[in-house]
């Protein structure tokens, strides 16, 4: 069906935009938000395929992805806060003490 194809293509486009954001942005929180966007794109693909195949396994998978993304966001932002306290900045280029 063409409409399912549109949803999967949209999911791919959003995933690639998120990946470009992860590569290009330097602010750690914006990188984190682009990762969330990639997860959402994958969720959209799951839901589209679940509708295509006629069972709810895809939607259950999306539910678990959301749960894990919530836990990951809490811990990720706590880590970013700790890094901010140490380095006084959230730019990824500033946390480079281990570079030789």
């Amino acid at each position: 069906m063409e409409s399912m194809l549109t949803y999967v293509a949209l999911s791919m486009v959003l995933f690639v935009i998120g990946a470009i954001g992860v590569c290009l942005r330097r602010n750690a929180i914006v990188v984190f938000m682009c990762i969330e966007m990639m997860l959402n794109a994958v969720n959209l693909a799951f839901v589209a395929f679940s509708k295509l195949h006629g069972n709810l396994d895809g939607q259950v998978a999306v539910f678990f992805v959301m749960v894990i993304a919530a836990a990951e966001s809490a811990i990720g932002l706590a880590i970013i806060l700790s890094v901010f306290r140490t380095f006084e900045s959230v730019e990824t280029t500033d946390a480079g003490q281990l570079k030789w």
Binding site: L5, C23, V47, Q59, F64, A70, I75, L77
Partner: protein, 182 residues
Amino acid sequence: MNVISFLTGVCAVVSAIGVVSLRNPLYSAFALVINLLAMAGLYAALDAHFLAVSQVVVYAGAIMVLVLFVLMLLNLKSESGRRLGFVRSALALVIGCVVVMSALPPVVSHFSSMSQTTLSDNMRNSVGTVKAVGQELYTNYVAQFELASLVLLIGIVGAVMLAKRKSVVLAPRPGGLVGGSK
């Protein structure tokens, strides 16, 4: 795909580009909220009603509020330093298009190989009401469900431990600072 879901998809793509390209991180966060709400609309268009409302409650209503809190408390300026050059942005765009276009042919061939009757039957069976998703979750996926709640508990405890300030004990001990028991 009707007009409303097409417009919602366009809105999702535009706000996604906004997340990646806006300078101020707070504006990126607002663009991501719009993106998440648009995705919730797309889920509703795909008949996943429970997921659409869960997306608004969990993602747009809790995770992004947390991100907004962190951004407002850290009070960041826009990204300092040189802006990304035109060459680098164009290269990123080209690589993105190449990736998307190379991943499309297998998907298209997969879609065109399914017959029409199975497609329409399948679409009628996969309505994601709360009751249906709940039954799937609690019968076929109950072990994963319990594990997911355990992961959330670990997340809560871990986040509190990580974000706590290390407290330095400054109060003098009873009995004086030097020697003496109790």
